[in-house]
Every structure is written in structure tokens, then in C-alpha cells.
């Protein structure tokens, strides 16, 4: 699907206005998974398909070979990867057949921005009330919070590098907001 020619990312039209250190990622597979973490049948099946041990610690990311899993709630994860979402959904459905779960391809539901560089923390401080200080938030952490007035998932993927997942209809708002937040740091000295 990521190679689908008809696929136009939601923020593409404003991407030209994005400063250094801010971009919209190209589409990837996103699958929303719900199930009972305490049920071994569930976690084993997920592991058999994805190789992932789902994080049961809130706001943590587990990384596997093809996919990573972001904790969203006690019974909900977002699987993200470069692979094929439909295939992943299908193999999860197969492996989880008969269990009480919910598997949804949500690859189009959210768009992902990448925020990086020395001012990424400043941009986040201008946009979110959450504490992204390195003492509190590190690579491997994710958090659902507000970016400006939009819901978002923020995942730290490296030092000074964040992925920000927002609902597609909000992507222009969030993209424009973050680009403007960075503007003061991109002025020539």
C-alpha cells in the first residue's frame, strides 16, 4: 500500500514550508491491535507473527525486526513498520483466530512527522505540556498527549529525534504549527 500510486500524504501540500529538522515520513504500515496482555495465547500469537513481545509497561515501545509496537493503553498497541499492513493484519487474524481481539489496518489513519535536531526539544516545549526532558523521556519511550490542540503520539526514536503521529485530518494543523514553532531557530544568526 505504501507503494500505491494513489497514496497522497495528508501534509504533502504544505511540506515545502517545513524547515530543517522537520518532515513528514513516507507512509508505512500501521496496525492497531487490541487484546488481553495477560493471556499467553494472545501474546504468544502476536510474537509468533511479529517476533515482538508486546510492551506491558505504559508508554514504552518494543522493537522487533520488521515492526515495533507502541503501547497505547493497557489492551492496545500500535504496530508500526515498513512491511505490508494488509499482510500483517491477515497473519495476525489467522494466528489470533477465535480470540477476543481487534486488529485494524490504520495505516492511513495517522500521518507521521519526524522532528529532529538541536531544537526539537524547544519545538516540543512550545507545543506540548508533557515533559520531554531527557531525564524523563528517552529513546524507546512513547506518549499519547496533545501537540498544540491535537491529539498525538510522540515516540522518541533517537537522541533529539522524535516521531509524531497525528490523525490525518489534523496533519496540516500540526504540521503547520510545528513548522512555525521551529521558525525562530532557523533564522540566520
Amino acid at each position: 500500500m505504501a507503494d500505491n500510486a494513489s497514496w497522497i500524504t495528508p501534509a504533502a501540500a504544505i511540506a515545502e514550508s517545513f524547515p530543517d529538522g522537520f518532515s513528514e515520513l513516507r507512509p508505512c504500515a500501521q496496525v492497531n491491535l487490541r487484546g488481553d496482555i495477560a493471556d499467553l495465547a494472545f501474546t504468544d500469537a502476536v510474537k509468533s507473527v511479529t517476533g515482538l513481545t508486546l510492551p506491558d509497561m505504559p508508554n514504552k515501545v518494543a522493537t522487533g525486526k520488521d515492526f515495533k509496537a507502541l503501547w497505547l493503553s493497557p489492551d492496545e498497541w500500535l504496530l508500526v513498520g515498513e512491511g505490508d499492513a494488509e499482510a500483517l493484519v491477515q497473519s495476525l487474524e489467522d494466528a489470533l483466530a477465535g480470540q477476543h481481539v481487534a486488529v485494524n489496518d490504520v495505516s492511513a489513519n495517522r500521518t507521521i512527522f519526524e522532528l529532529s535536531g538541536p531544537h526539537s526539544h524547544h519545538a516540543l516545549m512550545k507545543s506540548s505540556e508533557y515533559d520531554f526532558h531527557p531525564r524523563v523521556f528517552a529513546p524507546g519511550d512513547c506518549v499519547q498527549t496533545l501537540i498544540a490542540k491535537s491529539q498525538a503520539i510522540v515516540e522518541q526514536v533517537g537522541e533529539n529525534m522524535f516521531h509524531i503521529y497525528v490523525r490525518s485530518s489534523f496533519s496540516r494543523y500540526v504540521g503547520g504549527w510545528l513548522a512555525e514553532a521551529l521558525a525562530e531557530y532557523n533564522e540566520a544568526p
Binding site: S6, W7, I8, R34, V101, A102, A108, Y130, Y173
Partner: protein, 1005 residues
């Protein structure tokens, strides 16, 4: 060189950097490091403004945030700002300022005539008069009062500057960068806590900037510099100067206004953020906010040139300015003596020290005596003279307890009066944080008592009035704060030797009598300089039965000025305590409310303006709509195409064209905004049974059903279609505006009421873009786009869905209809929405496909009598009211809302019910919101039977149609009803709400 009152040397100004500025049209020169106030004083300008009520001449009283008088209109044009205190304006090149609320000039102000009426303009004046004749209040009295209202002026255009917000989390926030605050920050910083230190001034150092002190081997400036150097080197310590902590809220949340460019010349401000509000969540807060000096309340204590003693000291030491050359100091404590010593050292002349204490003693008193300055002990100032500047004072020996002094008066000429009534710790933030204040008799001030939040207090705020106490108290507060947030403080450094005078005591002296009782004669004892409140006003208020301090404040307006009473609140309270003969703690204190100092609306709004003020949500097809001339309607946060006018078309032309296209050919609508929720689990059908009013268990797989959702009170709150994807899986759609609320609603019941139900809900609103094609040729169009798909009614009946490829895109197609025509709602992944839309448009060209917006959608559905939640319903409408009993299950034992239908009012037969209306004149379109009556000639108030909820011109029907809620309407079909409008009364007939294709024959094309 015009700065006649500049000292020869000293001060923290840069004498090499002259700065040009203009005040009231006159050009002046000051130095970098000056405030507007210090620069004006250096130029001998004391008269800055006029008082509010009597328009008496007023000058600079203080040197900081507590200044009650010297408000100016700063700047010009779009960036002008009203009511800025000259004492808080850092001087910059090209600054212009004017006095406020004076006409024609501050020197000659016409309104000073008010002074003649001072005798009647007492507290409560407005309450007691302007009542007769009644009509004159709005016509004459109030307009005159309003003309006098206000100080400065708002700009007349929008603000070109940029503001923003920052959010910061720290373990320790220190408010106040004086000696105590610096030490606190150091202690916490050394313990490796994250620290924020804020100070309202341009430089850290607080009171040390105004005093000469030796701290160990360093002078005060070296000490400050070393402290800052160490703090700046700590990576997790943030230092913010020009930053005022203005609000202290629950759970250690503080707001700080950082003024980033207000001290810069205009050219250097461009493109920069002007002001930033920091939102800080702190583990611990150290308040080291210092103290403000109190004025003394004596007769005519308001003339320009009468200033706070410590402020005089600040002007001398920090700014190198002599506020006067012949000074009288009036004090009730000996800390103020230092001002006399410093002024004399700087070249001023101290004419006399008037000390209300009978036997002043102590190190400073001795030092002054050694300078041969006359000390009038046991004396008070009982009057002043001067027009636009104080010229002399009258002093008398104090007669303890007397209300009138008969002792001999002596006149002393002077051009400056420095006064000190003692110190009031700046308890504002502490009080805002719900801390309780306690009165300290010995120190004659309120101090922080019981605290409610995780905080420490230090320095003068805590009653630590010597530098030695401040340094020790500050360090301890910082260390305690760090420890409380889980850090280990370093060992306390050894206390340095500090060279400072030992202090004697203070003897409170709240109001100074004179030769006549207070309130008699022309003399005024001002308590609140800005609001012209006098001691006599307070007496009058008490006389009239006002006893609570809150009443006194409100009746006399004490503390309600832009300074919020920083120099007047305690004096007023103490004077009240004297009148009531009750100790100060028994009289109480007032609650301090944010902000500590005023904050611009622009800063508070930050970037949340325009399209940032509320997110704009758009579909993936939005740009196409824009390019094709759509006008938009806000629906919740969404932008939806309203209609697509072609050149030269009126709105009605466009709607007619769009609607007829749907009825006769094919129309296309972007339906992506509807909320979509995936509902899955073994109990999903049971869950829907409880949530919706109708039954769901038997819905076939791949079938779709319409549902109404009600609250427990039985009133409709959302609707939509839900498809059964599998035995255990449904896809629910919600209204555009209701999506988030419905998801919360579902989760609430699943998590709190029915945790036993095994159901998962997942929002997939933006997974699916939806393009709805509708009209008789919709089938032919879809056939073209999806040639493989069997569209026969047998294979693809109404209220079912199919999966397949449409225009090369994997899609899910629903056969539902909001227009009454054959309709396919094609769902594809959001990011393919535009591709699908363009394919539909291209393929539809041969069918003359017509995009339409929400307005035509509303007309088309109204022709079919379909409701819109929020239009036909208003939170007081049941399904039965809507004539939708068919959707309310009689068999289900329970569902949300069911019980409420049995209540007497909800079961009434004459509730307002949905009907159709046809106006007598077919071209007459009733206004939506028109009220309906059966007797158009009834006197007002007229019994109203209901109102028009929807009303349109229907091109399909060639006439107008309307939907309405009418009392007992279901039984009144065929009756006439009237809509009395402003200019005419419209007659209509009550009819069935389905106007078009009652049999539903068009659904299959």
C-alpha cells in the same frame, strides 16, 4: 548635557551609551541601564501624570512593580501600549511615551477642576446620586462618567507582534533573583535538580542592585556575577530575567511572563517573539519574592517628589540619579536612614530626618548623626506644599493618641520627601497558592504562615530582612526543595562575612493626624494613590456600616487599581483596624489574585490565534474543493464544502443545480468527515443493543442498519448507520461533530458500567475517506469505475455493503442513502481519497456529475424528511417526537434512554413533534427558527406551538418545504399554522415530513 540630576559617577548605567527618548513630546537623553523613570528623574521630570478622580499632579513614587502612579502610554501606532509603569520600562533608543488620561497636557489638565468637587466625590458617591430623573442616567450622567473612564488607550489596529508559550517541568522553581533566590537556585542546582530561576528585572541581584554591601572578599556586584557564572554553567538550570511569575496555581503550576524584546529598540525587535508565557510545573517552589516598602499616610502625601525611601536609594545607587537635592526623610524605622547616607554621599542635601519614633537608635541612626543631619525624633509630617512638585513640608511633634495635633508647626523647604512606613513582604504568589498569612507584630507585616503546596519561602518574604539571613535562608530553602524532590544537597558553604548595618526596630504609624481631624479641611491623606482613596474615605465607609475589609476595599476602591494595591492594601487594613479598634489579624486580609502584575492579552493567547485557535480538520479531498470554488461551512472542527457556486450563480442557483443533478443524474459528496468506529468482540451485538434504541442481534453480515443513540434521559444525541462486518464485528458511523463524543460514550459504558461485555472499540475515522455518489445514474457510474462488481439489487441490495476494487483502489462500498436516491458510499484509505474523487469526477463527466456540499445535502434529505441531529433535535427531543417510534425497540428489556420514556412529561401526547410544513405561497421560504402559532392575532406573550427546524426552497418540488417541531403535531396534519415574522405573518399547512418519493421507489435508481 541635560541630565542635571545625574550623579557624577556610580550606578549600573552605561554612561558611554546615551539613549534618546521622548516624553510628552519633549526630547531627553538617558543612559543604557536606565528605566524611563530613572531617566526622567535624571532630567528633573517628576510630574508624570494625574490621579484618577481628582486629577491631582502625580509623580514617581517607587522604582519597581509596586509603583502606583507613573503609568504612561508607551510607543505609538500599532504597537502602542497603555498604562505601562515608567519604573518598569527599560530605556531604549527612540522610546516615546506620554502621560495618560490628561487633557490637554499633564501640566495643565482641565479635569483638575474635579478637585473643587472633591468634597462631594467621596466613596460611594455614584451609589447615592445620578438617579433622578431616571432617563438622564443613560442620556447624560453615565456618558459623562464614561468619558472620564480609563487611563491609556488601546491601539486602534491589530498587533503586529508575535507571542508564544513554553511548557517547562522542573524539580525546583525559584521565584525572585535577589540574594535569597540566587542562593536557593545555587543549592538546588548543586544538588543536580532541574532548576528554573526567574526574576522580573533585567538583571539578577534584587535588592543588592540598590545597596552597597561587602560579601566576604567580594563587593555585591562581583558576588552576583560569580553566582550567575556558576548557575549558568549548570546544564539543567534555566535562568530567566525580565520574567515575572504572575500566577501561582494548583499543583505547583506557575505562569511566567518573559518580556523578550520590550527593552530593545524597534529595529531589533523585528521577527522576534515579543513576549513568552512560560507554563511551569514544579516539584517544589522556592518563593523569594522580597518585600515592598510602604508609604506613610499623611496630609497631602501625594505630591510629585514624595517617594519611597528605598526607591530613592535605588535611584541614587543603581541609576546614578538624584531624585532631589534637598531631601526630607520621614520614617518609622531606621532601615530608611541608609537612604539619607547614600543620597548625601551622592551629593544630595538632607534637610531633616523626621522620625515618628520618640527614641530612634541603632547603628544607622548613629551614622546619620555623625553626618550632622538633623533628626526630628518623635515628629511627623503633617502637611505638604507644592504644585507640580513638593516644595515644603510641615512638621509637628507627635502627640501620642491625639486625633488632632496642637503642637507647633514648622515648615521645612525641600524638593524631595523620602518616606518609609516599613516593609510588606511580597506575599502575593504565596497567597495565590492558598497559603495562609500571619501577622507579625514585631516586624509589623504579614508573613507566610501555613502553606498548602510543595514550597519553601526565603529572604525578605520570610521576614529575613538582613542580607545575612537572606543568604542562609535562601540556601536552606533551595536545599530543602531539592531534598524534597529526591536530590541530595551538597554541604552548605560557610557563611561569608557580611558588612551591613544592624537594624533597630519599627514602630508602626499608620496614619498621621494634623491640625484638623482627618477628612476636614482641604488636606487629603492618600492611602491608594491611583484610585485617590483617602483615610477619610475609609472612615466614611466604616461610618456607613461597611466593616469587612472586602467591603471597605470595594466601597472605596482601595487596591483595585493597576497596581492592585501593592503599596496601599496593608495601610488600608491597618487604618481600618485603628478605626474599628480591632487588632490587624482580626480585621483580616484580602486574598491576592493573579496576575501579580498585568499581562498582555496577546501574551496570554500566545500562538493560539486564527487557525491555531482551534484545529482546522480537513479531508484528503479538501484541496480539490478549494480549487473548484467551494465555499466552506465549519462543522465541528471540520471544514466541509457548503456549496460549489459557478461563476455568476447565486447561492440558490447553485443549490438548485446541485439538487437537480442528484435527482436527475448523479451528484458526488465528500462524506469523509463522518466518524467511524470499529466495534469488535463476542458481545458487540449485545453492546449495540444497549447503546442504540433499536435491535441489532439479527442484523445479517454485510448488512447495514440505521440507529439512534439517546442519553439516559431519553433525548436523541447522535445517529448514523452501522454495518455488520462479521458475526462479532461492526463498523459504526457517527455524525461529523459527534465522533469523539460517541467514542467516549461507548468507552464510558464499556469501562464503567458493563466491564463484563467483551468488546473493543477502535476509532478509524481517518482510515477511511468516503465519497458518496448519488442519483439515478450512480449505478452506471459505479459500473464504469468497478466493472467487475455485481451491482444488481439482488447481489447488492439497499442497506448492504461490498468490498471490491473501485478505480483501481481497494474499497468498501455501502449502499445507504441520505438523499433518497440510489447511493453508493465508496470508502477507500484516507490517503487515496483524492485519487478516488478525481477518478469519480473523470468517469462521471459523461453523466454530468455534480459535486455538491452540505447545503444541498440538507435540502435533499429534508425532501425525504430525514432528520439532522442538532437541527431537528436540540437535546429535548425523543425518537418518538421525531416520529421514529419504528426505531425504538418494544422488545428489548432495556437500552440507554428507555426508562425515561415513561416519565409523565416525556410520555405526554402534546410534546413537540416533527412535522412537515408547506407554506401557502409556494415561493415563500420560512426562516429557520421561525416560531409557530395557531392564533396569529393572540396578544403577546403569544402561545407558541413550535418552531421551524429546517426550511429550504426545493428545486425538485418547485416550491418551499420546511420541517418543524409542533406541539402534538403528529395529530395535527392538515391544520393551518402561522409564523408571525417581523414584517409579515406566513401561513402554512402541517403535513407529513416526507415530501418526496414517500414510497422510496427511487432508492434502487
Amino acid at each position: 548635557m541635560t541630565q542635571h540630576f545625574r550623579t557624577a559617577s556610580g550606578g549600573r548605567i552605561d554612561r558611554k551609551k546615551a539613549i534618546n527618548f521622548t516624553f510628552n513630546g519633549q526630547k531627553y537623553i538617558g543612559y543604557e541601564g536606565d528605566t524611563l523613570a530613572s531617566a526622567l528623574l535624571a532630567n528633573g521630570v517628576h510630574l508624570l501624570g494625574r490621579s484618577f478622580k481628582y486629577h491631582r499632579p502625580r509623580g514617581i513614587v517607587a522604582a519597581g512593580a509596586e509603583e502606583p502612579n507613573s503609568m504612561v502610554q508607551l510607543g505609538e501606532g500599532a504597537t502602542t501600549e497603555p498604562n505601562i509603569r515608567a519604573t518598569q520600562i527599560s530605556l531604549y533608543e527612540g522610546l516615546t511615551a506620554r502621560s495618560v488620561n490628561v487633557w490637554p497636557t499633564v501640566e495643565f489638565d482641565i479635569s483638575a477642576i474635579n478637585g473643587l468637587f472633591a468634597k462631594i466625590m467621596t466613596a460611594g458617591f455614584y451609589n447615592k446620586t445620578f438617579m433622578w430623573p431616571r432617563a438622564m442616567w443613560m442620556k447624560l450622567y453615565e456618558p459623562v462618567i464614561r468619558r472620564a473612564a480609563g487611563w491609556g488607550k488601546a491601539p486602534t489596529t491589530g498587533d503586529p507582534d508575535i507571542y508564544d508559550h513554553m511548557h517547562l517541568h522542573v524539580e525546583v522553581m525559584v521565584v525572585g533573583g535577589g540574594p535569597a533566590g540566587l542562593m536557593a537556585a545555587l543549592a538546588a542546582g548543586r544538588a543536580r535538580a532541574r532548576v528554573l530561576l526567574v526574576d522580573e528585572q533585567g538583571e539578577f541581584g534584587g535588592s543588592l542592585l540598590s545597596k552597597k554591601r561587602q560579601i566576604g572578599a567580594k563587593d555585591e556586584m562581583a558576588w552576583i556575577a560569580d553566582m550567575l557564572a556558576e548557575l549558568e554553567a549548570m546544564p539543567d538550570v534555566t535562568l530567566l530575567s525580565r520574567s515575572t511569575a504572575f500566577g501561582y496555581y494548583d499543583h505547583n503550576y506557575l505562569c511566567v511572563l518573559e518580556q523578550k524584546t520590550d527593552h530593545l529598540p524597534a529595529a531589533e525587535r523585528k521577527g522576534k517573539v515579543r513576549q513568552r508565557v512560560w507554563h511551569v510545573r514544579a516539584g517544589q517552589v522556592v518563593l523569594a519574592t522580597g518585600a515592598h516598602e510602604r508609604p506613610l499616610v499623611f496630609a497631602d502625601n501625594d505630591r510629585p517628589g514624595i517617594m519611597l525611601a528605598s526607591s530613592v536609594q535605588t535611584y541614587v545607587n543603581r541609576y546614578g540619579v538624584l531624585p532631589g537635592k534637598k531631601m526630607v526623610l520621614f520614617t518609622n524605622n531606621d532601615a530608611a536612614y541608609e537612604t539619607a547616607i547614600d543620597l548625601q554621599a551622592a551629593g544630595g542635601d538632607i534637610v531633616a530626618i523626621v522620625d515618628s519614633r520618640a527614641e530612634p537608635s541603632g547603628e544607622l541612626v548613629e551614622a546619620v548623626r555623625a553626618l550632622d543631619i538633623e533628626i526630628l525624633a518623635g515628629y511627623a509630617i503633617t502637611g505638604t506644599r507644592g504644585g507640580k512638585r513638593v516644595e515644603s513640608v510641615q512638621v509637628r511633634a507627635i502627640q501620642k493618641g491625639a486625633k488632632v495635633y496642637t503642637s507647633a508647626a514648622r515648615r521645612i523647604d525641600c524638593d524631595l520627601v523620602a518616606m518609609s512606613g516599613g516593609w510588606s513582604p511580597v506575599v502575593h504568589l504565596f497567597s495565590q497558592s492558598q497559603g495562609q498569612l500571619e501577622y507579625d507584630e514585631e516586624k509589623a507585616c504579614f508573613l507566610p504562615g501555613t502553606k498548602r503546596q510543595a514550597q519553601q519561602v526565603a529572604g525578605a518574604l520570610a521576614g529575613e530582612f538582613t542580607l545575612k539571613e537572606c543568604l542562609a535562608g535562601g540556601y536552606k530553602a533551595g536545599a530543602d526543595a531539592a531534598r524534597a524532590t529526591g536530590f541530595t544537597p551538597k554541604r552548605k558553604p560557610a557563611a561569608p562575612e557580611i558588612d551591613e548595618p544592624a537594624l533597630g526596630g519599627i514602630e508602626p504609624f499608620w496614619v498621621v493626624p494634623g491640625a484638623r481631624p482627618i477628612g476636614e479641611g482641604m488636606a487629603k491623606h492618600f492611602v491608594d494613590l491611583q484610585n485617590d482613596t483617602t483615610a477619610a474615605d475609609i472612615e466614611l465607609a466604616v461610618r456607613e456600616g461597611f466593616e469587612s475589609v472586602e467591603h471597605i476595599k470595594r466601597y472605596t476602591l482601595t487596591g483595585f487599581g493597576t497596581d492592585q494595591g501593592k503599596t496601599s492594601n496593608i495601610n488600608a487594613l491597618a487604618i481600618l483596624s485603628g478605626i474599628l479598634d480591632k487588632p490587624i489579624p482580626k480585621v483580616g486580609t484580602t486574598t491576592f489574585r493573579p496576575p501579580y502584575t498585568p499581562v498582555s492579552y496577546g501574551a496570554l493567547a500566545g500562538r493560539n490565534l486564527g487557525d491555531w485557535s482551534d484545529p482546522v480538520r480537513v479531508t484528503s479531498i479538501h484541496d480539490w474543493h478549494v480549487e473548484n470554488g467551494a465555499l466552506f461551512e465549519n462543522v465541528g472542527q471540520w471544514k466541509r464544502p457548503w456549496y460549489f457556486p459557478k461563476t455568476g450563480e447565486t447561492m440558490q442557483d447553485a443549490l438548485n443545480r446541485e439538487c437537480l443533478a442528484v435527482r436527475n443524474g448523479v451528484g458526488v459528496l465528500d462524506a469523509s468527515t463522518l466518524g467511524k468506529i470499529d466495534i469488535r468482540g463476542p458481545d458487540a451485538a449485545e453492546f449495540l443493543n444497549r447503546i442504540y434504541t433499536n435491535a441489532w442481534a439479527k442484523l445479517g453480515i454485510r448488512r447495514v442498519r440505521y440507529g439512534l443513540m439517546c442519553h439516559e434521559d431519553g433525548m436523541v444525541f447522535d445517529d448514523g448507520t452501522t454495518a455488520r462486518l462479521a458475526e462479532d464485528r461492526f463498523l459504526m458511523t457517527t455524525t461529523t461533530g459527534g465522533a469523539a463524543g460517541v467514542l467516549d460514550w461507548l468507552e464510558e459504558y464499556l469501562q464503567t458500567e458493563w466491564p463484563e461485555l467483551r468488546v473493543y472499540c477502535t476509532s478509524v475515522t481517518e482510515q477511511w475517506a468516503a465519497v458518496s455518489i448519488t442519483g439515478p445514474t450512480a449505478g452506471a457510474l459505479l459500473k464504469k469505475l468497478a466493472p467487475e462488481m455485481d451491482l444488481s439489487p439482488e447481489s447488492f441490495p439497499f442497506l448492504s455493503f461490498k468490498e471490491g476494487v473501485v478505480a483501481g483502489i481497494d474499497a468498501r462500498i455501502f449502499r445507504i442513502s441520505f438523499t433518497g436516491e440510489l447511493t453508493y458510499e465508496i470508502n477507500v484509505p484516507w490517503a487515496c481519497g483524492l485519487a478516488l474523487w478525481e477518478a469519480v469526477m473523470a468517469a462521471g463527466a459523461e453523466f454530468d456529475i455534480t459535486p455538491y456540499g452540505t447545503e444541498s445535502m440538507h435540502i435533499l434529505r429534508a425532501e425525504k424528511g430525514f432528520i439532522i441531529v442538532g437541527q431537528e433535535t436540540d437535546g429535548t427531543t425523543t425518537p418518538q417526537d421525531l416520529g421514529m417510534d419504528w426505531i425504538v425497540s418494544k422488545k428489548k428489556p432495556d437500552f440507554i434512554g428507555k426508562r425515561s420514556y415513561n416519565r409523565s412529561d416525556t410520555a405526554r401526547a402534546d410534546r413537540k413533534q416533527l412535522v412537515g410544513l408547506l407554506t401557502e405561497a409556494p415561493d415563500e421560504v420560512l426562516p429557520e427558527g421561525a416560531q409557530l402559532v395557531f392564533d396569529a392575532n393572540a396578544p403577546k406573550p403569544m402561545p407558541m406551538m413550535g418552531h421551524v427546524t429546517s426550511s429550504y426552497y426545493s428545486a425538485t418540488l418547485g416550491r418551499s418545504i420546511a420541517l418543524a417541531l409542533v406541539k402534538g403535531g403528529h395529530e395535527k396534519k392538515g391544520q393551518k399554522i402561522f409564523a408571525p415574522l417581523l414584517d409579515r405573518t406566513v401561513t402554512a399547512e402541517i403535513v407529513d415530513p416526507v415530501f418526496y418519493d414517500k414510497e422510496g421507489e427511487r432508492l434502487n435508481g
